[in-house]
Amino acid sequence: MAKKIGVYVCECGTNIAEKVDIDKVIAAVSPIKDVEVAERHKLLCSDGGKEFIKQSIAEHGLTHVVVAACSPKQHEVTFMNVCEQAGINPQLSQLANIREQCAWVTSSAEEATDKAIRQIRAAISRVKYHAPLKKKEVVVSPDVLVIGGGIAGIKASQLLAAPDRKVYLVEKASSLGGKVKSFSKLFTNMESGSSLITQEIKSLLDNKNIEVLTESEVEQILGFLGNFEVKVIRKAEGKEQNFNVGAVVLATGFELFDPKGLPQYGYGKLDDVYTSLEFEEMNIPDGPTGGKVLLKNGKPPESVAIIHCVGREEKDYCSKVCCLYSFKFDRMLQSQLPGVKVSHFYSDLCIPGKSFQKFYEGTKEMGVEFVRSAKTEVTGNGKGLTVKYETEFGKQDSSTTDMVILLPAMESSGDAQKFAEMLNIPLDEKGFLVEEHQLLSPVSSAVEGIFVVGCAQGPQSISESIVQSEAAAGKILSALVPGRKLELEVRVSEISESLCLGCKTCIDVCPYGAITFDETRRISVVNEVLCHGCGNCAAACPSGAARLKHFTFPQIYQELKEVLR
């Protein structure tokens, strides 16, 4: 079929017309072979302009369209849509950028006009070689992968699971419940954490729409919102499981800062110095002491010192929940060991919000001592422990105690790093996964379709973590409507089976994991659903086997030839 090309030159108000002699341009390109019509317009991206092109296409029975206007970043899609509406495959159009790349940057009007003519000639020459690439769509996967079986992951899974939406909950440990499982009481209502989490886990396991994969690790996640391919290794069975989801929730939680790094607290060397988490575990009925607070010698302590902010200076942030749970410890100690002497050694207290002040004051009324201190140290002489410190007024002081509970900083779990690398999500300087925007987009990540909730993002209370899980669930529910379709990139890479020699260079340079190696045929193969069309493979392929559709050698050659002529 004969090619009939329409060329439309935009004045862009005065943006282009002021520098480029458009009539001269039209006169220069009109006689070019296959150009059926060449016309100018005040503003092609306006409704009138779009209508003008559509009518012209119909009137002249055009097969290809060249628009000379602004940057493709701004209006390539606009004019592709115009073509589509007029019945031309949108890939059979080409936009020559004679505004940013010509009118705005060329000082002489004569030179600008000459350059615009070259650019349009190049576009005409190129568009003849365009292929009518077919539009491709995939139906979004409404399913969701939740990583981390702590309270944040459990709540997100419960909210998201529905008859038309499956949730895969992956936990690397052998059981669900995360850290909350070890909390015998929760602030401020002093309910049992372990029985609360047991209830939540039960309702989760009863939900047929949730597949729980414990003792499992996520090995690979490739894709984009609506279509992530996930590979999970089930360690217990030594099996690999693959599935497709539309979104991913990262709820990888936290670890406690290891106080062994700070020898002044004696942790790991002195008996009866515990971390907050070890104290929690001592209080749960099936814990190491059967729920009893006991010293190493088997006797209950008569005095307990609680030391705040262990590692705060080193970490350079406040973990924000330690003060609150320490007031919970006061109550747990008093109810189990009435009359026990409890002293807090702190430099600052963090008691935000509407209900915590009262919680703190209740603690003080119980007779708990609060000692403002600095440079706190713990020493032991075999009989008991001594807390040495500097008072508010700069004096040295000390007091003896039977037991010390350290409140270490909360730090990012090692998995944060793993998923940051796997998914290209930034980590902050403290090692936590970064939200897309602290204020406006607090649970999304930099990658569309990946959400970060709970302590993976930074220290949070249980209720804050749950709020984030709910927020992420809300975002996912509105984005992944079952049956919704996603349009795929059509300008993707393809690898010639007859030219590929299997050197795997393309696999190394693909940032999307879209190329795999077929061991039988010994060639690389592109997954068109994962390919974003960046062209790295086409550039790096030493044997010319990889090529990027719409940016093929003949297309680029034809374009360059006219620019340079």
Partner: protein, 386 residues
């Protein structure tokens, strides 16, 4: 330097060639490998080619140090293992440049080295193929001089300036001939596989071979100086579009240089593909713009394209120049371009099997000076325009 290299001394009767063959025979007998890939003289006596030998009686015709390089050894290994390894263990006796080309092919997945033992030999260089073809007997006499360390001016130009004629470090076993006493060779293991071979033949690498090392080092220094001097002189003759056009003006577009290049392994050369076939109109347009068009077209572009593709992996083996029927100094141009490009990436092709080719490595900050000079140019242009 790290701790001095240790080696073994192998002694036997006869010439260096016969000593090497005696060692190979012994290694075959001790089950170090099942077959040998080695250059051998053609039955007519007028050429050499790589032979895959399983029967040790044929070994007598082998010439591990042969006067010419009609086939690049890496090319031979590529044809042998390009589609994966075989069941048997093969020892490949190669020149150091052939080992280095093999290493580059390995990185690109074009050879399988699992069942291969790479054995390199101190290389005296090779004579131009054309000289051999013209008068094999005379060439053989000249080569005997070369082996005595004389007549180096009769070697191929790239051999005269080769500074990587000995162990590369990437082979399994190196055979040292330089500075060896008459009736002996040095065996230097360069990998656990190589150590295994020496253990099996009962020659653990315990001897002090600093004499060999010193000879190699001093010749390397000398060659480095000669190489630098040569490339500097050659640069003034071959750089720039006009000089390149002159240098390649004799090219008859036969693409022999591409066919014999060990690194040029594409199934179809881009320049033979439909991508490079244009219409008569296209050529007329180009002739009009340029005032004339040489046909067949893309003669120089073919060489520039090859430089772009090959130069980071080019080991200066000289196969291309040997194959050129019109004596274009292809290998010398590639040495020059390769040297510069490899220096830019601080990359020595063939040095190590683990080092990835530069184009596969992403560096966030690279070539800042180029970026700056580009920025500088556009700033200058703006200033001129203003």
């Amino acid at each position: 330097m790290v701790s001095p290299i240790k080696g073994a001394v192998f002694t036997a009767e006869g010439s260096t060639r016969e000593i090497i063959l005696a060692f190979i025979k012994q290694a075959l007998g001790k089950d170090c490998f099942d077959a040998v890939l080695i250059p051998a003289k053609a039955p007519e006596g007028d050429s050499f080619s790589y032979l895959l030998i399983q029967n040790e009686t044929i070994l007598k015709d082998a010439h591990p140090i042969c006067p010419i390089m009609p086939v690049q050894g890496a090319k031979a290994l590529h044809s042998l293992t390009g589609r994966g390894k075989g069941k048997k263990r093969i020892a490949a006796l190669l020149r150091p440049c052939e080992v280095r080309a093999t290493v580059e092919l390995f990185k690109l997945g074009q050879v399988d080295l699992e069942n291969i033992s790479l054995i390199s030999i101190d290389c005296p260089g090779a004579l131009p193929l054309a000289d051999w073809v013209e008068d094999p007997q005379k060439a053989e006499t000249v080569f005997l001089e070369v082996l005595k360390g004389e007549a180096s001016e009769s070697l191929r130009p790239v051999c005269q300036i080769c500074d990587k004629f000995s162990t590369t470090g990437a082979e399994d076993l190196h055979i040292g001939t330089l500075g060896a006493k008459s009736g002996s060779i040095f065996l230097i293991p360069r990998s656990p596989k190589g150590e295994g071979i020496l253990e099996k033949v009962g020659l653990p690498a315990k001897e002090d071979i600093s004499g060999w090392e010193q000879t190699v080092n001093s010749l390397t220094e000398k060659r480095k100086g000669e190489r630098k001097k040569f490339l500097e002189e050659f640069k003034s003759k071959a750089t720039g579009l006009d000089n390149l056009l002159d240098t390649f003006s004799k090219c008859i577009n036969c693409h022999n240089c591409m066919r014999v290049c060990p690194i040029c392994y594409c199934r179809q050369c881009f320049f033979d593909s439909a991508n490079m076939k244009f219409t008569c109109e296209d050529y007329l347009d180009r002739a009009e713009t340029m005032g004339g068009l040489r046909l067949p077209p893309e003669t120089l572009l073919f060489h520039i394209g090859r430089m772009l593709h090959m130069s980071l992996s080019c080991v200066s083996c000289g196969a291309c120049e040997d194959a050129c029927p019109t004596s274009v100094p292809v290998a010398q141009v590639f040495s020059l371009v390769g040297n510069k490009n490899q220096e830019e990436f601080d990359y020595v092709p063939g040095k190590s099997l683990d080092e990835p080719p530069p184009l596969r490595v992403y560096e966030e900050e690279e070539f800042e000076e180029v970026e700056q000079s580009c920025a500088g140019t556009s700033a200058k242009q703006e200033a001129q325009n203003a």
